[in-house]
Amino acid sequence: MALPKYTEMRYRVWHYSYLVICTAVFVFLIAPLFVIIPLSFNAEQYIHFSDGMLALQPEAFSLRWYEDMIYGTKNPWGIAARNSVYYAFFSTIGATVLGTVAALGLSSRYMPYKQLIMSVLISPMIIPLIISGSAIFFSLAKLGLAATFPGIVIAHIILGTPFVVITVTATLSGFDDSITRAASSLGSTPTNTFFKITLPLITPGIISGALFAFVTSFDEIVVILFVAGGDRNLTTIPLQMWTGLREQLSPTIMAVATCLIVLSTLILIVTELLRRRSERIRGISAQ
């Protein structure tokens, strides 16, 4: 972004103030996350930077809140983590299978009422969660599935499918049909073509959609507030954080939050690798 030598003074000023503004926005975006990490290693019980921490004294830091997170009896973080992973795992499988199959149909040129059907399938992402949450709760309650494991998984599948549909349709929109036609002309059956040709090519899109579904379920809080119905055995990490945050900001929550930031960093790395891979093998983006 170096400016040419002949640039006038006022454009120079403008250019540098533009860079300063951009830096400020990037700091605004990312800094709040990094405030949490050091605070989770606080030796004190208060959520602020103690003098010792600012002076980088080793005794001002400790892992006691991580111990509390894992061994503390008051907070069922263990159950919460296990439940969150279970719900996310099963709902990701459901959402990915349903979403991918639907996306294959939706990307066909022959799909009838494409716009309308697409709008319906995307609606769980658009409609405010408070409405989705209460509607899903009422219908699950009618079936006797409220506050049960399958009920929560169904709710999370509903919320996760739009992301799979969007990412997989986007991947398929860059798909070159002549490849599958070539396969058929060489005598491949449609099933064989799908598994040998189409599926490997759209896999990055599917994985990226699955990741979205996973994160949607893993972070989901509004719908589960309605559907879990206060059952402690069905609690999840977000639900536990929500309860904690409503009472008091505790350093243990900072420790959990730090773990979640590490998790999202991992997810970010995976999506980046996927994007590069799909760009390399097909010359188009998976997203």
Binding site: I21, F26, F28, L29, I30, P32, L33, V35, I36, L39, Y46, H48, F49, G99, V101, A102, G105, L106, S108, Y110, P112, Q115, S119, V120, L121, S123, I126, I127, P128, L129, I130, I131, S134, A135, I136, I157, I158, T161, I166, T167, T169, A170, S208, F212, D219, I221, V222, I237, M241, L245, L249, M254, A257, L260, I261, S264, T265, L268, E272, Q287
Partner: protein, 415 residues
């Protein structure tokens, strides 16, 4: 007449082509069908059923069917006759025997305050009634409220199978017993304030996101990939991070004893005793929501800006346009698609926001979603909650429809 072209198996080509096309249409539809049916039956229909609760009063109507029918001939101008009071007596008796009089009390209490205690007391005394004497007098003996004609009017209205009054309540209006529609007393008005605040926050957050996202999306789109990928982390990491983590980080920052206030005090900008009130008000909701929704504006803007060739701007300046003029006439119009996509996405998400306002907003920073949740979970006035939800849903669907018109749902991109 054109010559009839036939395929090798002797069929007309046009017929054959149509058949093939129909088969392809069916295949495509069958692929989408499982998800479509799942979403329709598990999601869309439940939403409509739930919204139906905002006008539905069938249960109450079934509890007091005969009373309701008899009351249709009563015009409500003077105290009801014995036909009404006796029917009500017998139906209430059945209700007490089958133990649903509590539900009747709760429902009627929404029509007029004081009904809960009235029905409960009456239910207890019902066995002392003399079925041969005047019922109205006996009702009044049990509780003097039965002498107030408004309670009978409320009973008539409260047993209608359908009602639209909750939509009036949604906008702080009420229907009097004489049928006139008026605003509720000023002290009780809260919903209109919340609607206006929700719209203000949604529009404001969308605008702030646009102002903040535009320069950085531009920077990301013009930088060499090596650097832009690094900077993209600043956008994508918050995007992938749990909403509760981001909200709690804002709580840490904005609290009165929080990091931001601490820093300002230690730098001497703010005196220790006059720390800024950044949380539990609109400021908190506004700042936190802007940061949380910013990636949803950056990503569509970035993907549009990435496609704009830098030579367009160079051409404009080489033909004598100032950089500002070239930006306004060439670059900015080319980014309209990204602006509309991002704005609509942010607006739709902001208008239904629930978690962040509940945690950061306090009483002064809550939005309409929080009020819906309150009526769903605490006051248990589901009719009102669903009436408010219907209005919110209509607002969102209008914006969604606009999005579809302007951007097209097929063009939605994530990440």
């Amino acid at each position: 007449m054109t010559a009839e072209i036939r395929t090798s198996d002797g069929e007309l080509l046009s017929v054959k082509l149509k058949k093939v096309e129909r088969r392809r249409r069916t295949t495509a539809f069958l692929l989408a069908a499982p998800l479509l049916f799942f979403i329709v039956f598990a999601y869309v229909i439940p939403i409509f059923q739930m919204l139906g609760r905002s006008i539905d009063n069938a249960e109450m109507n079934s509890f007091l069917t005969e009373t309701h029918e008899v009351m249709q001939t009563w015009d409500g101008s003077e105290m009801p006759g014995e036909d009404v009071t006796s029917t009500f007596y017998y139906e209430l008796k059945t209700a007490v025997e089958n133990k649903y009089h509590g539900k009747i009390a709760t429902r009627l209490n929404y029509e007029k305050g004081g009904f809960t205690s009235l029905i409960k007391k009456t239910s207890r005394k019902l066995k002392n009634f003399d079925e041969n004497a005047n019922f109205l007098d006996q009702f009044i003996d049990v509780h003097k409220k039965w002498g107030d004609i408004e309670y009978w009017q409320a009973l008539k209205r409260g047993t209608d199978a359908y009602h639209f009054r909750k939509y009036l309540t949604t906008f702080d209006y009420e229907q009097r017993f004489d049928g006139s529609i008026e605003r509720i007393p000023e002290k009780l008005r809260i919903n209109v304030t919340l609607w206006l605040r929700t719209i203000f926050v949604a529009v404001g957050v969308t605008f702030c996101c646009f102002i903040l996202a535009y320069p950085i999306s531009h920077l990301l789109s013009v930088l060499p990939t090596r650097y832009s990928n690094l900077l993209m982390i600043c956008v994508l990491l918050p995007f992938w991070t749990s909403l509760l983590v981001r909200t709690s980080s804002w709580m840490v920052l904005l609290q009165k004893q929080g990091v931001l206030n601490d820093t300002l005090v230690s730098l001497g900008f703010v005196a220790d005793e006059s720390r800024l009130e950044l949380m539990y008000n609109m400021t908190g909701t506004f700042i936190a929501m802007t940061q949380i929704l910013l990636p949803f504006m950056v990503l569509p803007l970035y993907s549009v800006m990435k496609t704009i060739s830098p030579s367009l701007m160079r051409a404009a300046t080489s033909m004598g346009a100032t950089p500002f003029h070239a930006f306004r006439k060439i670059y900015f119009p080319l980014t309209y698609a990204g602006i509309s996509a991002g704005s609509i996405l942010v607006f739709v998400l902001a208008i239904g926001y629930y978690i962040t306002p509940a945690l950061v907003g306090g009483a002064k920073g809550i939005l309409i979603s929080n009020r819906i949740a309150y009526h769903m979970q605490q006051s248990l006035d589901w009719s009102l909650a669903t009436a408010m939800a219907t209005v919110l849903l209509i607002a969102v669907l209008v914006v969604y429809w606009l999005y579809n018109k302007i951007v097209g749902i097929d063009n939605m991109r994530l990440g």
